[in-house]
Subunit: 112 residues, 2 copies
């Protein structure tokens, strides 16, 4: 079975690329820690796709849908030391999980 | 003790922000898997700093210095499905490790 991980980032926050990279790193690690498929996914080269949404509401919707489907998921909130207000929701990490399940959930989202 | 993780990204490759985010995610997960301090670092909120170098030679130098100091480190090479040639070295993940050890190694590098 093919496993992958999806990271969904808010594009409306106008974060710089270093900020985005750090938030994506948080999401990748936290979601991986929650997944029962981490080992297989690492063995397959930890496939990872970074997608975007343009609002907090959309980010929360994706989080909730992933939860409803029983997928391993985490919401990343920024500590607010730089650039953003403390507690700003920046991105969601989903999986590793079976690739087809993630495609059904996030197939309509665009690449960041 | 304060732990953190540093991700060093090549800025000379002109990667897009989604590409950078994916590579940083790979580095964050792979370096964390190698670290004996993962659990403490996660408990402290997985502090993460994203820095830059402007050449492959500089990236390799950082990798080697980190290894010489016994730090948990990984080199990320791109699979080359998009944007880059297969095997392109894109970034290095170091730690989690004690923050002061990472500062001595990477203190002169700029934020991405």
């Amino acid at each position: 079975m093919d496993f992958k991980q999806v990271i969904v980032v808010r594009s409306d926050l106008k974060m710089g690329k270093g900020k985005i990279a750090a938030q994506a790193g948080h999401a990748a690690v936290s979601a991986a820690e929650k997944s029962q498929y981490k080992k297989e996914w690492l063995g397959q080269g930890q496939k990872k796709t970074v997608l975007k949404v343009d609002s907090e509401a959309e980010l929360i919707r994706i989080l909730q849908e992933a939860k409803d489907r029983g997928l391993p998921v985490c919401m990343i909130e920024d500590a607010g030391h730089t650039q953003l207000e403390p507690g700003t929701r920046t991105c969601v990490g989903i999986g590793p999980a079976p690739a087809d399940e993630l495609d059904r959930l996030t197939g309509e989202l665009k690449l960041l």
